[in-house]
């Protein structure tokens, strides 16, 4: 579709059609707003952040599945009864800011019908869940008999009874991607619904892990609820809620100040391409991103992106797309390593940010389209937004990132019939940054999980790791080089099934910035180097590996920033010394000549002049 044929909504209509994670301004309050002195404000802000942090710490430590306790693929926080996020744990960005959508989802069933002691379980992606494997546990909070808010957490279940262990991309609809739980009261007024509990666990492959994880999530929410009621007991509802509202306003003000510094206008990223939908291999799908700065509001318009797919490769709008855009804007304008330190991620951050994706596109699918596998395309959004702003704020953006994901669910059925399922999120890498190289082999953008220790994986599953290192190839060249992806090779000691989700970025590589080199795609190769070598697409559903097979996983490498011939020669020499590039690469890409470990200044000067005068390819 040529760009000229995209029909964009006019700005006014776009404002009306776009959505935000923030709750609309509330009209009536169940408390009396009061002035809160600056000290009490700090105290309550600190207590809320501490509560969210405690919730997450409990969850990491107590959880069962490796995806929750090693990868830490979870989120936790406290919301008021209007679904305004008051605080959230500093865990995985994808989970940050999805809680309000979960609460709105359960409100559709239970608004006004909460009891003390309720525990509500939810994973329905058309009612706010991030995607079906991300269970949410929500506990309504009561103070003096009055419903004042919710403690909630989300966590990725290792298996939810999909067509294949872990997950499946190639499924016809939502119902094939796992069991749905739509705002089910697991506990009603403190009473466990045992048949429901049994039913949930009897329909998954990993009942022990899921049971342990859900128990941990319940404990996490109860802790959060206790903390909030303690705070109210101490300071009173008026002071606590007034302070919380001030904190929301504070975060909002800080973000709006930064947005207002940007010139009004429309900023477009180059069209991006997704490899395929996990079924129709070889058919790439276009995505379009334009960002509009309008005063102190930001609108992200995804019009023109590919229609929803026939597989599970779609993105839940409320639970995934909105949190991603919130993340992208906040990270770009309020970087925690700089001015953004200490600004809480709450409802206030969401207020200036709106997103529009037309119904029926990949970023706003219509029920009952499957939408389990959403990370590869969702993680392109922050990268697209960075590209859109590259010309405007070059010292805040990055060159093209891996901006994908490489998640693999490994599984097998031993003699005793009890499934093992392990989920591993493979690392990406960052593009070069203004005055900094890209980060190597690390989770990128919306992903921020941890790897599983090899010594943990091999002890708990019939796997053998043969390699886990940086990739054997030069990083994408640039004044600030791109980050290198990781290489990992597994050998399977027993027949093993894998399902994967991701995008190798082979057709649309991470985009070099300001003369920097493009990044490199990733790959999955079975039995590399043997006669039966076979490359896999990034998305396979239920692929079978035999005993003795190997799987080599190569992570995507981020792009370079700036012309390589401008790179600090000492940094080039360090890359050479550290085996990231060779002498030929140092000379040909960077124009740096190193002899006997020392930079040859004269030869380097000459070589660099040649490089700079050479016609651009």
């Amino acid at each position: 579709m040529p760009e000229s044929t995209i029909e964009y909504l006019p700005l006014k209509q776009l404002h009306d059609a776009a959505s935000s994670t923030a709750t609309s301004p509330i009209e009536t309050r169940h408390w009396t707003p009061v002035e809160v002195d600056p000290v009490t404000l700090q105290v309550i802000g600190g207590a809320m952040n501490t509560a969210a942090s405690e919730m997450a710490q409990l969850l990491f430590r107590m959880a069962y599945s490796s995806i929750m306790r090693e990868s830490q693929d979870i989120g936790a926080g406290i919301l008021d009864r209007y679904a305004r996020q008051l605080c959230e744990s500093d865990s995985t960005p994808m989970h940050c800011g999805s809680l309000p959508a979960y609460v709105r989802g359960i409100e559709q069933k239970h608004a006004g019908d909460y009891n003390e002691g309720d525990v509500i379980l939810h994973n329905h992606p058309y009612f706010g869940a991030s995607h079906s494997p991300d269970y949410g546990v929500i506990v309504p909070i009561f103070a003096d008999g009055c419903h004042v808010g919710f403690a909630g957490c989300t966590g990725h279940m290792v298996d939810i009874g999909a067509a294949h262990p872990g997950w499946s991309v190639d499924v016809p609809d939502l119902f094939a991607e796992g069991k749905l739980i739509n705002a089910a009261k697991l506990y009603d007024a403190g009473e466990l619904n045992r048949p429901l509990w049994d039913h949930i666990l009897e329909n998954v492959r990993t009942p022990e892990a899921n049971a342990g994880d859900i128990e941990a999530m319940i404990a996490c929410c109860r802790l959060g609820a206790n903390r909030f009621t303690e705070l109210i007991g101490r300071y009173g509802i008026d002071v606590v809620m007034s302070a919380c509202e001030q904190w929301l306003d504070y975060s909002e003000k800080r973000l709006r100040t930064e947005i207002a510094k940007l010139p009004d206008g429309e900023y477009r990223a180059p069209r991006g391409w997704l490899e395929d939908d996990g079924k129709n291999f070889g058919t790439p799908l276009p995505i379009e991103t334009r960002v509009i700065v309008d005063g102190d509001d930001i609108l992200v318009d995804l019009t023109g992106s590919t229609p929803q797919t026939e597989t599970g490769f779609n993105c839940p709008f409320e639970g995934s797309v909105l949190p991603t855009v919130n993340f992208a804007v906040r990270t770009l304008l309020l970087d925690e390593a700089g001015d953004g330190a200490g600004i809480p991620q709450n409802d206030g951050i969401f207020r200036p940010i709106k997103v529009y994706a037309p119904e029926g596109c990949i970023y706003n699918p219509v029920f009952p389209a499957g939408c389990e596998a959403r990370f590869a395309q969702i993680n392109r959004l922050p990268d697209q937004i960075l590209q859109a702003f590259a010309g405007l704020i070059p010292d805040r953006v990055t060159a093209g990132n891996s901006a994908s994901v490489g998640a693999i669910a490994y599984s097998g059925v031993p003699e005793d019939g009890n499934y093992w399922v392990l989920v591993e999120v493979n690392e990406g890498s960052y593009g070069g940054r203004w005055q900094k190289d890209g980060i190597d082999a690390i989770d990128n953008l919306m992903a921020n999980t941890r790897n599983n220790p090899i010594e943990e994986m091999e002890m708990s599953a019939p796997l053998r790791c043969e390699r886990y290192e940086l990739r054997d190839r030069p990083p994408a060249a640039g004044r600030w080089r791109g980050g290198l992806g990781a290489a990992r090779r597994w050998r399977f000691l027993k027949p093993t099934m894998i399902s994967t989700t991701g995008d190798h970025r082979a057709g649309d590589k991470p985009c070099g910035l300001d003369g920097g080199q493009d990044g490199y795609p990733g790959s999955l190769v079975v039995n590399a180097g043997s006669p039966g070598e076979k490359s896999l697409p990034a998305k396979v559903s239920g692929f079978r590996l035999n005993e003795g097979d190997t799987l080599e996983i190569s992570g995507i490498c981020g792009a370079g920033y700036g012309a390589a011939a401008d790179r600090d020669p000492d940094a080039v020499a360090a890359d050479l010394r550290n085996g990231l590039i060779d002498h030929a690469g140092a000379e040909q890409s960077y124009g740096v000549v190193v002899r006997n470990g020392a930079i040859d200044g004269a030869a380097t000067g000459k070589k660099r002049r040649e490089l700079k005068s050479a016609p651009k390819a």
């Binding site: 600056p38 700090q42 970087d335 925690e336 390593a337 690392e427 790897n451 010594e455 091999e458 886990y468």
Partner: protein, 706 residues
């Protein structure tokens, strides 16, 4: 028969024990006559180029004061920040690493999680500032595999020789040997050590299975690399100290406080300097436990506040708690070592108060440090610090500071607070000063909350014990915030860490991996491992001169429910001889899980991951002597101070006392301020203080008992 290399308990001639805590600014000494319980304290400026110099000078000074010869000292107990400072200043060794082929970048990839979520521009410390550079990380063919440590790929010794020669050429100062699964079978790491002794005879070599024989390769490798990084310099320092005290004729040997809260011989410390990373702050917590025990209140929280940071320790029921494995690190570098559960936060006298562009009032973590320092010191600082607030309220008196040679200017403090806080917020100076104080106090209270209440402990049962130059200025306020029953300010809070050394047992911890289900773990295997570890621990204690009667062996297991990833360390009785040992282990684990996570799963299988055997050499702790009051017990001054009140703030006529003039039994209702050379104790309105028989000041909320 043992020849006691370090006679400790048997030798009655040597009655004197000495604790030395060497910090960045001061070197503190506590010297005790074990027969009489008499204690002498001393403070000297630290000698940073060679910290042992101030150490030795202090020893000689104290001995001449006491009229004894230095060889009458039986034990020199030492807490040191030398390893910590190497990490802070990043001036450690050039380290080479030998690791399994295919795994060169474990230290570079780490757990592949970014420290910050909302940041594209953060630095990743282990990549931007690595402990071992990539060209010094060399791989050799070898592979040990689970579950039983079988050799799948034999070690290529030729490749090892080649790699070590390369490191020798690169002139590394230390070599870390890190192979996968070495905790199941150390033979390959030991072979590298053997070859290294030939190829690099004078180089510090450390093997991962010796540093920490536990699973999780990144954490183990990182700990080993840290050991290599701080190793050579720390070992040299300890050797110099050893030599200096030997030359000075000091009797006995040097013992070091570890991060785990026990003392080890300097020989053991030289092999595992990574165990000294938190050697400094542990002493104060142990002293706090000692004070709590003596006062009949064994649940203690200690707060040690200095210029730039505050160390918080929690010891429920008088027991040291150790950190969860998720939290054992120094800065951003993982160190999988037993560590006392101490939290350090960036809150101290130098913490800066500010109001940002959106009107938010914060205190810290930025600090004015020693230079320019707080505005009131007049060294050119213009920002408002916590110390300025303490001066502006009237609590810190110019005259008192002048006596210890420090000039403070109340006007400069007020100006800084007015400009940076009061005016931007549109509030008065007293409100702003008290606000800074309250926010700083509550930052510390939040850290205490995370370290205690999170773990299931109710702070209302605890005593809060003040240490450091500034702890006693905050403790009452924090006690109010956390509903802590009482505050204790010991007679000499400024030398808490050094005093703690004298109250610390000798402690050797040995561990080994088990990795089996509790239901099927063979009793014989467990008993054999336990016995062999216990034997090692006993041998170390007996080498230290402990009679068997003065030692104790503690057994612990790291357990989890099958499927969980993190273990809880539980105490288990004895040596697993009883028939029902499995039931006991199971019940202890269920109970620990319930306390920490609010739930128990009685029908779930338990997995036993590691066994830890701790050999403890008990040091007799004589009852502290009551501190004798001296001088007049009348106020040394009375002036108007500001305190928070229900109406925001108020002016209160406040008496100031010389703390050491107050006799046991003295009761004074707040507001009152106690001055002494090393700290100022603030007793706000609404609190009452009393001097107990041991000379501690005990502060409780409310009016004096009728």
């Amino acid at each position: 028969m043992w020849v006691n290399q370090y006679p400790i308990l048997q030798d009655i001639e040597r009655l004197y024990h000495l604790g030395i805590d060497i910090g960045g600014t001061f070197t503190d000494f506590v010297f005790r006559n074990e027969a009489t319980g008499e204690e002498v304290i001393h403070k000297l400026p630290s000698t940073r180029d060679d910290p042992s110099r101030a150490g030795l000078a202090g020893i000689q000074h104290l001995c001449s004061q006491a009229g004894i010869s230095v060889d009458q000292i039986s034990r020199v107990l030492h807490g040191t920040t030398v390893a910590t400072n190497i990490m802070l200043e990043r001036n450690g060794a050039k380290v080479g690493l030998i690791t399994t082929e295919g795994f060169r970048d474990i230290l570079h990839i780490a757990r592949k999680k970014r420290p910050l979520n909302f940041s594209n521009y953060q630095d990743i410390p282990w990549q931007s500032s690595p402990l071992v550079e990539r060209h010094l990380r060399l791989t050799v063919p070898e592979r040990i595999v689970p579950p039983d440590g079988a050799v799948e790929v034999a070690l290529d010794e030729k490749a090892v020789r080649k790699a070590l020669s390369e490191l020798a050429e690169q002139k590394v100062d230390a070599v870390a040997v890190c192979f996968l699964f070495s905790f199941l079978n150390p033979e390959h790491e030991l072979a590298v050590r053997r070859i290294a002794a030939e190829v690099l005879p004078d180089t510090f070599v450390t093997c991962s299975h010796e540093v920490t024989p536990l699973h999780r390769e990144y954490e183990r490798f990182s700990t080993t690399a840290l050991n290599a990084y701080v190793g050579p310099a720390t070992a040299r320092y300890l050797q110099r100290f050893d030599d200096a005290i030997a030359e000075g004729g000091v009797g006995g040997g040097l013992r070091l406080m570890t991060s785990a809260g026990g003392l080890v011989s300097s020989k053991a410390a030289k092999q595992k300097p990574v165990s000294l990373l938190f050697s400094g702050p542990v002493g104060a917590l142990i002293k706090g436990m000692d004070i709590g025990r003596a006062a009949g209140k064994p649940d203690v929280i200690t707060l040690d506040v200095g210029g730039t940071s505050a160390d918080i320790g929690v010891a429920p029921n008088g027991r040291l708690m150790h950190r969860h494995i998720l939290d054992t690190r120094i800065g951003d570098y993982d160190a999988m070592m037993p560590m006392v559960d101490l939290t350090t936060i960036g809150a101290g006298g130098g913490s800066i108060a500010s109001v940002d562009e959106a009107g938010m009032f914060t205190v810290g973590p930025r600090s004015a440090g020693a230079s320019p320092g707080p505005a009131c010191f007049g060294f050119g600082g213009t920002e408002a610090t916590v110390t300025d607030a303490l001066v502006a309220t009237g609590w810190y008196r110019t005259e008192t500071f002048a006596r210890s040679g420090n000039e403070i200017d109340r006007k400069l403090a007020g100006q800084a607070i007015l400009q940076n806080v009061a005016e931007p917020l549109g509030i008065s100076l007293p409100e702003a000063a008290l606000g800074i104080y309250q926010i700083a106090s509550r930052n510390m209270a939040d850290a205490i909350r995370l370290g205690s209440i999170t773990k299931g402990y109710d702070t209302r049962d605890f005593s809060l014990i003040a240490f450091g130059g500034a702890g006693a200025s905050f403790t009452a306020e924090i006690a109010r915030e956390l509903s802590i029953a009482q505050v204790i300010v010991p007679p000499h809070p400024g030398v808490g860490a050094a005093a703690g050394l004298l109250a610390t047992d000798i402690r050797y911890e040995q561990m080994s991996s088990l990795w089996n289900d509790l239901a099927v773990l063979p009793s014989t295997e467990l008993r054999e491992k336990a016995a062999s570890l216990a034997e090692q621990a006993s041998a170390e204690l007996s080498e230290d001169g402990f009679a068997a009667a003065d030692t104790e062996i503690v057994y612990r297991l790291d357990c989890r429910y099958v499927g969980q990833g993190y273990e809880l360390t539980i105490d288990v009785p004895g040596n697993f001889d009883a028939d029902d040992w499995r039931d006991t282990v199971a019940e202890n684990f269920h109970a620990a899980h319930e306390r920490q996570y609010l739930r128990r799963f009685s029908d779930k299988q338990i997995q036993v991951i590691n066994i830890r055997v701790i050999g403890i050499g008990h040091v007799p702790i004589p009852q502290s002597l009551p501190t004798l009051a001296s001088g007049s017990d009348k106020p040394v001054a009375e002036q108007t101070c500001m305190f928070a009140s229900d109406e925001g703030w108020g002016s209160f006529p406040t008496p100031f006392y010389d703390r050491h003039s107050l006799k046991p039994g003295t009761v004074i209702e707040g507001p009152v301020i106690l001055e002494q050379i090393d700290t100022t104790t603030i007793v706000p309105p609404g609190f009452t203080m009393l001097v107990d028989e041991l000379g501690n000041v005990v502060i409780k909320s409310g009016k004096p008992d009728a």
